[in-house]
Symmetry: C2
């Protein structure tokens, strides 16, 4: 027997319709790519998104077509998000920081029919022009006055002129909620990038989950500045969540330096922001140097990589900003866990509180997690055992576009995150390593990240990496690679003595190698595949 | 093109699985019907719900069968909610305060196969016994020691014994999310009660919407006491929302007197509660008399009928409790609007703030509203025009069980709420009347509720009712009925003079009648149908 409730699909267009209807004159403020501050309202954004939808129809865009974007966080990029998905096409956000070959692979694999590109990124697209043959035209997100010239790109369209020609009478179609809405490629350290194809349903459910008090906790009284890029996993869902809640938005455009961000925080009264640790590291350092504060800020969400404890303490104790440590993946729309305390934590000491904050948090309702051993058996949720982290849920991918990377999806419907983690009885999850980086020694696992974090605690260490190298008896043993700080004379004996009372005896690195630099990926992560290649034949000293 | 996201249905069983997994030792505290305080955890609740699901199977309950409940807010009622819906049957909550004929009508119309009944309500069921022939058995929500005897009811089953016989190895079935989960009848002032049949999908989506920061705003740090009964429109969704968020629950059982509620608030540290104004009126009066406070309370949601301004001011100014004024209907699962301020309201004066609070609030994302005139044309959202309030949304009924009351659902998919309201540009809605009570005078509408509220402002008025009576020229004109306060000598001239500068001239009642008492429904609302019958032939004085 079915219930007798209205049959209404979960659609991205409903979000912006709601904001335009009930938060019509709430502002969206942008630092434009051209420079000046632009401000308008949800009602105007909705009107322009509808004009864009008409324009897309005029360009021959069909439902299901992929539209690529190469753009910073601006009101125009926001309009593209809603117009493209809303009309039934697929908004494909592309990270302009990727390498040439990754960009061409992604655009061709997605079969993008148009690209919407910030003016400053047109030169980047020019370099790809010969290799992206299915792209019918490039729309530049600017007005006629700022249109770049291009000899290479045959069809360069001005976004503002495109909109000027259109009326805003577009009616959002009543799509099947499982219709694809957006696409984002995840670029690992190996193999080709893999596409995650979101649906309207998964995005709207993610938006509900992300807005909850124990998630981003956004209300109509918030002023939200997403620093995390809109080309990076839906900017952690913020374009959708702010729209659902009717929060004021502050979009920082391409200028992500501390002074520019601080200016927006102060002038617009930003209450909430979200970004990776690197951004906050720069901001905190700048605040410290200049003596500025961020008094309007109530909360920041930090994810993308583990948030250093000192950063959470500085935000909390010096600036009164509550840090929510989060974890997610492109494959998870992206939010998986968020660290907020429970009722029982009301009387924690500061030390205990920040201990808790070091976890990546508890799963949002809609996401399930487990950790498993090499044979796929579930491990205990005791905060100690660590294993492969597997997830499933309402906004988790079931496969990649085109079927790539199918080994990550098991037959019981779980997705292997590629992370190694602990889970405790209250659901707090802590990432201890990447699956491919964990060192398997005599049947037990050693966390490369834990060892690296300990090593960088030594004042003579600028950067550290730990990899497993072959060992005849133990299968693998840890090798510690260190970049010394300038003027440091640190040697092997000293760093090993330093680690000695900090880790279990069998975790101790078998050897230490000092190097001038360590290899990194395009997004700044340690490139351990390269290190493993370089040290494939390394012979460990015998004990 | 469909997205490539996991296909997971929205199921009520997911809520309690999540709570048991991630909030396993968070407490649910109950003042039992038997008297003592009972406390256990989400993990135990989940285990018992699974044992109950096995027991239901043992009783021959099939998916789609309706299971009636006549019970107060207790942990056992909570278990019935999740076990019945979780296994695929329909949890049919019944208001024990309804009249005999309504109860038999509802139980027979729903075709309930079992009733789950609090021990103290067994005598009520005994009176119905002859007329509810499809009910196969009555399960008494108590243990053997407290089992009542009954000569009338042939098959009286002890709930605790039923559970004792079962194991908790029940696997919740992976139902279609549109499966009916629960049923609640709405009893208007006319006609038979009408059944609203919720689905798993609508309830889970309502739970997301209800938990949002601008709705109930519940987190894992809250201690939630739902005073609104679980037989009344899902207790405004609280059994589900608390479970989704892992909040501690405090279930007050049958004792809703101020001293009992206050004892629980104090001893359990209640942070949040929800109830109709009458409950809070009694509590505030008791607090005032005894000098007690409710310092743990942060927020209360008040709905069911308009919340008096004085109540919001007393809660806010004297006790530091934030009041959220809400509006909903059984047909809406039930939450429709919630009153929270916007960013622009940050600097309101207290007077302006409480002016704002008098509205019933803004629609939660997932609910759309409009107001229409007699011909169904949409009226402006200007805060002045008032018309029939129509709604649609993710958790709004599309019809009543069995097709009754179909005139409330129009062909464009909107539900006529039967309320008359204003909407303003920011989406704030204000109920001004019931559709059938509004007085239509010369093509214009006069709000009976506005006139009643003004009249009770006179110190000599204990209660007031305004109805429309036939008028040869104006179609209808308002007649004011007054119950004087004890010892008051108020007369017609005085009350009319009192009203004169408070309403538009054409709103002034044409006559005033003093009566000893006014008729009420079972749930305490003015029974205006009776008044209209009684005064059908009333002849208004000629001006």
């Amino acid at each position: 027997m079915h219930g007798l409730m209205m049959d209404m699909p979960l659609l991205i267009s409903s979000l912006i319709k709601h904001a335009a209807q009930y938060h019509g004159d709430t502002e969206i403020v942008t630092r434009t790519v051209e420079g000046p501050i632009h401000r308008y309202t949800y009602a105007e954004a909705h009107s322009r998104a509808r004009r864009l939808a008409n324009a897309l129809k005029g360009l021959g865009v069909q439902q299901g077509d992929r539209i690529g974007t190469l753009a910073w966080n601006t009101h125009r990029h926001y309009e593209v998000y809603f117009a493209v998905s809303g009309m039934g096409a697929v908004c494909h956000t592309i990270n302009p920081r990727l390498f040439h070959d990754q960009l061409t692979y992604i655009i061709n694999h997605a079969r993008d029919v148009y690209l919407f590109v910030d003016a400053t990124l047109v030169p980047l697209v020019e370099q790809l022009a010969d290799e992206i043959r299915e792209v019918r035209g490039v729309v530049v997100l600017t007005d006629e006055a700022h249109m770049p010239k291009s000899d290479v790109l045959p069809r360069l369209i001005c976004y503002e002129s495109l909109l000027d020609e259109q009326r805003d009478d577009f009616d959002w179609p009543l799509l099947d909620e499982n219709t694809a809405s957006s696409l984002c490629y995840t670029s690992g350290t190996t193999g080709n990038p893999k596409g995650v194809l979101y649906s309207h349903r998964s995005n709207v459910l993610h938006t509900f989950g992300a807005a909850l008090p124990d998630s981003l906790n956004l209300s109509a009284r918030d002023v939200v500045m997403p620093v995390v890029p809109m080309f990076h996993a839906n900017a952690w869902g913020m374009p959708y969540v702010t729209t659902m809640t009717g929060a004021k938005q502050v979009l920082p455009g391409p200028q992500l330096d501390p002074a520019s961000l601080h200016e927006l925080i102060e002038s617009e009264g930003v209450t909430f922001s979200a970004a990776v640790p690197t951004v906050w590291l720069m901001l905190l350092s700048w605040l410290n140097e200049t003596g500025n504060r961020v008094d309007s800020m109530k909360s920041v969400v930090i994810g993308g990589s583990a948030c250093p404890r000192a950063m959470m303490e500085t935000f909390g104790e010096k600036y009164g900003v509550n840090v929510r440590h989060a974890w997610g993946m492109t494959e998870m729309s992206p939010l998986g866990t968020m660290n907020t305390p429970l009722l029982r934590h009301a009387n924690l000491s500061k030390k205990e509180y920040y201990d808790l904050c070091e976890n990546q948090g508890r799963p949002i309702f809609g996401v399930e997690m487990k950790i498993t051993d090499d044979e796929g058996r579930e491990l205990p949720r005791d905060g100690k055992a660590f294993g492969d982290l597997r997830v499933r849920g309402l906004w988790v991918a079931k496969s990649y576009l085109g079927g790539a990377g199918s080994s990550a999806f098991d037959e019981d419907g779980w997705f292997s995150t590629g992370d190694v983690a602990t889970l405790d009885a209250n659901g707090y999850m802590r990432i201890t390593d990447r699956s491919k980086d964990v060192i398997k020694s005599g049947g037990e696992w050693i966390s490369s990240i834990d060892l690296e974090n300990l090593a960088v605690g030594h004042p003579g260490v600028a950067e550290a990496a730990v990899i497993g190298v072959k060992h005849p008896k133990w299968d693998e043993r840890p090798l510690l690679l260190i970049v010394r700080r300038k003027d440091s004379k640190l040697d092997k004996a000293e760093i090993l003595t330093y680690l000695q009372d900090k880790v279990a005896r069998w975790w101790m690195p078998d050897d230490v190698v000092f190097v001038d630099e360590l290899p990194h990926t395009a997004t700044g992560k340690l490139l351990k595949t390269k290190l493993r290649e370089d040290f494939a034949d390394y012979v460990l000293p015998t004990a």
